[in-house]
């Protein structure tokens, strides 16, 4: 009797889960049925002006569902889980590269675009590092990795080199990034290595440099960096230019510099995944984002470097001269785009990171 009741409970559970799954697929079928006039967009949080979405819906009659995420790795997990059929996705270039290599991206027919020519050919050229034939990715925003510093504590000429991050005078007031690849950039560049090196000796040497730096580091932060810098809790921080622009708005003593040894150039890009239900609508949406007025709305919403030349034409000189938003050609010449590293290098990175953190 007892066994019977346990069995029935298990059966009940099985029943419930089957029903649950069935409900789930029903939901999917719903979205598939609407496929023709619904577009599911996956993007970073706060990375697209809602007005632009409303405009797109009004002009085309296509219903847009916006899904957001925090980190590229989270996006990858969400995307790979496959429970939602995304139509168009925006993410960091190395993640786009990974998904292209996994065969997850559809080719985009840019000849059908009306506004593709608005984009800066130099930036499109830069996307060749992860999309050699420029047929999968559409650049959205770009920027650099550099040092955000407090001008009341550090003089501008000091932050022209990554060496300043190893300077004892700033003990306990240096913030590094709490993510592996970014924090390795200064160390790799100082020891003369390429930021995409897969040479274990070079990576180990860079890790040793970082271990030597750790005692003077205040903290390894990601999202907290801008607020900590604005509060004056640290003198310098390794940040992305987008974060720097935000921090500068909070505290006018802050400034941003990309050291002369060179750094990382990031290009967040759109791609159309294999799960896309309506390629034409997805392309329509991407084309819409390249239009001068919508690109301007998005630029004013996020304040990152935009590859849209029409937007740049309309901007005033001060904004254009702000190297935090638009890195100068000289800066860009020394910057490189991250490449997705091989599995062995990824594992080594992960191990060296743990080693650094446990010191």
């Amino acid at each position: 009797m007892k066994r019977f009741s346990l069995l029935s409970a298990v059966l009940l559970l099985a029943c419930l889960s089957v029903c649950g799954c069935a409900g789930g697929t029903d939901g999917l079928k719903d979205s598939a049925a609407q496929g023709s006039d619904t577009l599911i967009v996956l993007n970073y949080g706060k990375y697209l002006d809602e007005t632009v979405i409303r405009m797109f819906e009004e002009e085309t009659g296509i219903d847009v569902k916006l899904e957001e995420y925090e980190s590229p790795e989270e996006m990858y997990t969400k995307f790979k889980a496959g429970s939602i059929a995304y139509d168009v996705v925006c993410t960091s270039e190395y993640m786009v590269e990974r998904l292209i290599s996994e065969g997850e991206a559809n080719e985009i027919d840019f000849s059908r675009f009306t506004y593709y020519k608005n984009l800066d050919p130099d930036i499109i050229d830069a996307t060749k590092t992860f999309d050699p034939e420029t047929k999968y990715a559409l650049p959205y925003f770009y920027g650099t990795l550099g040092i955000l510093y407090n001008t009341t504590m550090v003089s501008p000429e000091k932050v022209t080199t990554w060496n300043v991050l190893w300077d004892e005078t700033y003990r306990d007031s240096i913030i590094m990034q709490n993510s592996v690849r970014d924090t390795f950039v200064p160390a790799l560049r100082l020891s003369g290595s390429d930021i995409n090196t897969e040479n274990p000796d070079e990576l180990t040497a860079a890790a040793d440099l970082l271990i030597r730096q750790k005692p003077i580091v205040y903290a390894y932060y990601v999202d907290e960096t801008a607020d900590e810098m604005a509060a004056g809790n640290a003198a310098m921080a390794l940040v992305y230019s987008g974060e720097a622009a935000y921090a500068k708005e909070l505290n006018e003593d802050l400034d941003y510099s990309v050291p002369k040894e060179g750094s990382n150039l990031w290009i967040d890009s759109w791609f159309i995944p294999k799960s896309c239900k309506n390629q034409e609508n997805a392309e329509k949406f991407l084309d819409f984002l390249c239009r001068a007025d919508t690109a301007m709305l998005n630029f004013e919403y996020v304040w990152y470097g935009t590859p849209n030349l029409k937007v740049k034409e309309a901007l005033d000189e001060d904004t254009l001269a702000d190297a935090t938003i638009f890195p100068t050609p000289e800066i860009l010449a020394d910057c490189e785009v991250f490449r997705q590293s091989g599995p062995d290098t990824t594992a080594l990175y992960s191990y060296l990171w743990k080693k650094l953190k446990s010191e």
């Binding site: 009741s5 306990d172 580091v217 205040y218 743990k354 953190k357 446990s358």
Partner: protein
């Protein structure tokens, strides 16, 4: 029929146990003993011997011990005071100690970060008072502090409960027989509250050993506990096999510490369990 009905009442709990305890543990065990190609391996378990992992588990144990000790030293006298003074609003005072638990613990830790930071309230005060700037945030000490702050109620409650159960008659009898205060404490109160102490220790030590959020927030990414290593393997390294292997090792540590505590707990059935 009525028996069947009564057994059905256990249904939700059985579903819970299978779905949220047994199944996840089975999945963790599966990952722990397989490599990324799916073959059987002990590598993920043996990985604990790696110097980096040894360092982080030793640090976890060290911080766990310090936090538990501080909690015990704070909670025991407090529970004694609470239960010995029979003032009118005793239950209100106990309520005050539980009150912080009404707020999300992340929020409380985040506010400590504001207080402890370089330009925080405490440092501003210290500088005004002429003591000078003290580096507090992002050190192992600040992590222990945060843990103590978060877990202290878990130590106070079981000890207080077992202490409140001691009848006044017993203490009075001891006094009549000429026992000194110290003798009463050592020979009567401590043995009678032992089960409370032990469940308090377990309820503080186990979560500190496995925690990773507090060390992340108050350690500024500079304090790597075994919980952080596991988190990293799952979230960034995406090596679920290694993460599971280390989780299994950590589970062994937790079970061992609980077994050790149970040896001391002779009457069995600690106050909260």
């Amino acid at each position: 029929m009525r028996r069947l009905m009564r057994q059905l009442l256990a249904g939700p709990y059985i579903v819970w146990i299978i779905g949220f305890i047994l199944l996840p543990v089975a999945v963790i065990l599966y990952y722990a003993f397989t490599s990324d190609t799916g073959g059987f391996t002990l590598e993920n378990i043996a990985a604990i011997a790696d110097p980096v992992h040894v360092k982080s588990i030793v640090l976890s144990l060290k911080l766990g011990f310090s936090c538990t000790l501080v909690c015990l030293l704070l909670a025991y006298p407090l529970a004694m005071i609470l239960s010995s003074f029979k003032f009118r609003h005793q239950s209100f005072v106990v309520f005050l100690f539980i009150l912080p638990m009404w707020m999300n613990f992340m929020l409380r830790i985040l506010s400590w970060r504001l207080l402890l930071s370089n330009n925080g309230l405490i440092n501003t005060f210290l500088e005004r008072a002429g003591i000078g700037h003290v580096k507090m945030l992002n050190t192992p000490a600040s992590v222990v502090f945060g843990m103590v702050y978060d877990f202290l109620p878990f130590m106070i409650l079981p000890i207080y409960n077992s202490m409140a159960r001691i009848k006044d008659d017993i203490i009075e009898a001891a006094k009549d027989l000429g026992a000194s205060h110290l003798t009463i404490l050592v020979k009567i109160i401590v043995p009678l509250t032992l089960s409370g102490i032990i469940s308090g220790i377990i309820m503080v030590f186990v979560p500190t050993l496995t925690s990773f959020v507090i060390s992340d927030l108050l350690g500024g990414g500079k304090v790597l506990l075994i919980g952080n290593v596991i988190e990293q393997e799952f979230m960034q390294g995406t090596n679920w096999n290694l993460g599971s292997g280390l989780s299994v090792v950590l589970m062994i540590f937790v079970i061992a510490s609980m077994a050790l505590m149970n040896i001391f707990d002779k009457d069995g059935g600690a106050a909260v369990w």
